[in-house]
Subunit: 306 residues, 2 copies
């Protein structure tokens, strides 16, 4: 078995029927090499988001099993929900965690896409880093008009032809978007002022869209009940734009307004590498190797054992 | 199987015969729940140091198997080496890593000591946190005069009676010292000066023996070839005396002499908790939970799967 670890967060168009949700998730339980971190169904979105980490081979097998179950229970012709979607299994993104490069993760997404279509007959679009057509890097381009529009346009508009499969959606399961993307770290910096303009200005200094760091998305918000403001960010490439670098830049900019960093928040999961790199920076550790961390070494050895 | 992880670093009185060394280490290989990080034999010391991490139950079984092999090959009456020792299996320290408290680790050491004596007939002394007699917290008290002196004194001097077993050493394997202790982090801080007195003074400010932090041992050294000096430390309780607190105290003291911290070194292994705590301090993360780190969560789930 491969020593690689990938994250995969498949999204399914079912957020209401508890029995169907449990059936879709079942193939991820008690399966060697597959770790089910979390699954959350949203009734308004009528959508299920599953958070998995595991070995690529084991994950792929489980994803196929789960997709077949979703396919047998979900009919897109009667599906309603607030979240944009084009299929019963709407998106399957793979994210490299360790022992695998982004290039390998792209190959994984593409070969999985071929197998997925063979076994389910559901057409596949590739997105993000796995996109074959540059415009399809963006999910919203592929999902434009959602299931209802796509099922018509796919027949006549060559721009909407699936990357794998015929120019026709699956009659009940629609289509699935499969891709590879980097891990996204949700990082918020709370500032000791009630002036939201400070957070908005600083967000504009650090985010890519205003000319800041290339892999930072961010906005400034008021945290009214707490009497603070927040620079709320997604670090879309934590290796290129480290947590410490973004934080210290914000601290430096905030000084201009006589404002301090009160605290920060890491929302949700974070890869160890993102934290260890910042620790090594602040502790000034020369030649720090993540393998020096007992738990990291152990995880690697467990992977090697099987 | 228990979800706890402990480190164990058994020391054997054999550092020269390659076949014997390999035989002693063999029970730690390909054994579920036991992870052999490293083993190093020193010919001058005539001693083997094995670095293990694992599940307490699996580790104990492997340690018994290994001790029996060591016992069958090593005769303390003909053993010579530069390192102090009293037995073929000289020391077996257990260190809590995760999912186990120090109190539980002490119980582990003591129940292992009983079983060890039953299966090998080798008398046992308990040391460090597992000591039953306060003086025996210190290994050097138990090992005083080494094998040659102890084997005589044990018969007549009640102060030297083993904690488990009769007032007589094993005729060839001597005795074994078993204990529980906290993880020791080797942390060095290099300063940008050639004046070794600065490092010596700062070492005296931070170490317990001169009234500094209660769980820091340290000395000041010259790194002559590098044109720097070093505060070389062992953090014997990284939870009470964190890396960041010790580093920032040294930085603050060094300023008085106009000296900067050039870099630090973490020598050998370090538990994730020690690094994550410092990262959370510097990144000012509110409510940071190690379970947010994908790899830490994964390791826990792998432990739960067995």
């Amino acid at each position: 078995m491969s020593k690689a670890l990938v994250e995969c967060v498949p999204n399914y168009s079912e957020g209401r029927r508890k029995d169907v949700i449990e059936a879709i998730v079942a193939p991820f339980k008690d399966r060697p090499g597959v770790y089910l971190f979390d699954y959350r169904a949203d009734e308004d979105h009528n959508r299920l988001v599953v958070s998995l980490v595991g070995n690529p081979d084991a994950l792929q097998d489980a994803l196929i099993d789960s997709a077949k179950i979703a396919q047998s229970h979900i009919d897109m012709n009667s599906h309603q929900g607030a979240h944009p979607r084009i299929g019963a299994v709407d998106v399957i993104p793979f994210t490299p965690i360790s022992g695998i490069t982004m290039e390998e993760c792209v190959q994984l997404a593409r070969s999985f896409g071929e197998r997925y279509h063979q076994e389910t007959k559901i057409p596949v679009y590739y997105y993000e880093d796995a996109a074959l057509i540059p415009e399809r890097k963006k999910l919203e381009v592929i999902r434009k008009g959602q299931y209802e529009v796509l099922k018509e346009e796919v027949r006549t508009n060559p721009d909407r032809k699936p990357d794998v499969g015929p120019s026709e959606l699956h009659p009940t399961a629609g289509a699935t978007v499969i891709g590879a993307r980097k891990f996204l770290v949700a990082f918020n910096v709370n500032l000791g002022t009630t002036d939201v303009e400070v957070a908005k200005k600083i967000a504009s200094y650090v985010r890519a869209s205003s000319g800041g760091f290339c892999h930072v998305k961010g906005i400034g918000l008021a945290l009214e009940e707490r009497g603070m403001v927040q620079v709320s960010m997604n670090l879309v490439d934590y290796e290129k734009n480290s947590l410490y670098r973004v934080l210290e830049t914000i601290r430096m900019e905030a000084k201009r307004y006589g404002v301090s960093v009160v605290e920060t928040e890491i929302y949700g999961m974070v890869p160890a590498g993102a934290i260890l790199e910042s620790a090594a920076y602040y502790l000034q550790v020369a030649g720090f190797d993540p393998d020096q961390v007992i738990e990291m070494r152990l995880l690697k050895m467990m992977g090697e054992q099987g």
